[in-house]
Symmetry: C2
Subunit: 253 residues, 2 copies
């Protein structure tokens, strides 16, 4: 996020082994030699710009994509012509795993800001994983992690109110940016209020009102797309649902 300068070609050609994201990406836990082999199949594309598509819903599945810098949103069409934002993807995150099953993309991926993206042809990757057990394991973990993440979203959409959703969203961004060595409390939103609302199952107006409220309550500072979190702990307790006396659907069997 907040990546405003054009990325130089120099930067792009850096290999996996030098990539600052390797600890978040596929090479995690591989030997130097295996990283070289993986490196051999990764394509590094020229910088993409806001609005560019990595792929569109319906496209044949060929490659996975890893965000190197910038950010990408994925979204699926809903039957009525609207769309559901499925996620915002930051550096080190992998896009396209959901397309393996049907060998076609069920969602589209659109670049939110000038971004550098690695492309990994899946068939080549699959060959490689068959001969590198730790890479295979890493793939399973990545796919599994994606499921776990979706599960978290199900809980959020199924049980949390608007306040809890937005607080969770902000904290998720914060945590992920921090992992990438960026500020956890001061960042730019590359997505619009509308996209945030869509992602969280809320109306734009609700998102806007909540930003205002959070700011009035001293939890954060908002200036257009520039966000500063002032009281992370308070936000965390909001997510916990300590928000009020919110009744939970209890479960009995």
């Amino acid at each position: 996020m907040s990546q405003r300068k054009v990325i130089s070609l120099e930067t792009i050609r850096v290999a996996c082994r030098n990539c600052s994201l390797s600890s978040l990406c596929l090479p995690m836990g591989l030997t130097a030699e295996d990283v070289e082999r993986l490196d051999g199949i990764v394509k590094r594309t020229r910088p993409l710009h806001r609005g560019d598509f990595l792929f569109r819903d319906g496209d044949r599945f060929r490659s996975l994509y890893v965000v190197k810098t910038g950010s990408v949103k994925t979204f699926a069409p809903s039957p009525e012509g609207g769309e559901q934002v499925l996620g915002f993807h930051l550096p080190g995150e992998i896009i396209g795993l959901d397309a393996i099953d049907k060998d076609a993309h069920a969602c589209s991926a659109k670049v939110l800001e000038t971004s550098a993206i690695c492309e990994i042809p899946f068939s080549r990757l699959e060959e490689l994983t068959a001969t590198i057990p730790s890479l295979q394991h890493q793939m399973y973990r990545l796919l599994s992690k994606e499921i776990g993440h979706d599960t978290d979203m199900l809980l959020l959409l199924g049980k949390k109110n608007a306040e809890e959703r937005l607080a969770a969203f902000l904290l998720s961004l914060s945590r992920r940016l921090q992992k990438r060595g960026l500020s956890a409390t001061d960042f730019y939103l590359s997505m619009s209020r509308h996209e945030i609302g869509n992602y969280l199952g809320l109306a734009v107006e609700t998102v806007s009102r909540l930003f205002t409220r959070f700011q009035d309550d001293g939890l954060m500072r908002v200036d257009r797309k520039h966000i500063q979190l002032l009281d992370v702990h308070a936000l965390q307790s909001l997510v916990g649902g300590a928000g009020q006396n919110r009744r939970q659907h209890q479960q009995q069997t």
Copy 2:
């Protein structure tokens, strides 16, 4: 579902190659020889009963589980002490994929009715997939499919109203039962109204009222847990969101 008789030991010891579910399960597309090898690592447990756990949230991850007969629900604890039902699993469906990442289960799996379950130790499976490319591919597809399914649920929880959610739920059950050779229009619900509501992000009362309404509208017949779908096509058009003039969050960039 509606599996009331106790499963005989005879049935349980049948191997993968004779399993009627093989086309839905891991063996899909394997050679006879490879199925044998897979078969060698699969454990078949004695029948489990309503309320039994396959695993609990926090347990160390060891195995994947496949439902052979019966049904299982998975659910995750939410911070406030409630829980979120994540899914209902029918014969042929695999449980536990979300635990690979952290090597621990983040949700619990509880048997809803007398069920037969296959257990597949994951470490053994992983060894096997490294030597059987088509099995590896099958695993990737399974994991990917799970992501796709979660994605559908995100859309449902994020954009659909109560009516659309329940209709989608009924049709999903119907479709899955049909794939397993059971009736698509006449079945028992092994889960409670409460669990359905929890899964769909609705209150029990709303689920109940909708069942009544759907019945009054001639879409289905409801008698306790016995369901008969009378007008599948009408239900499908409900899901489409033709429900009214439901406004969609449009997306612009």
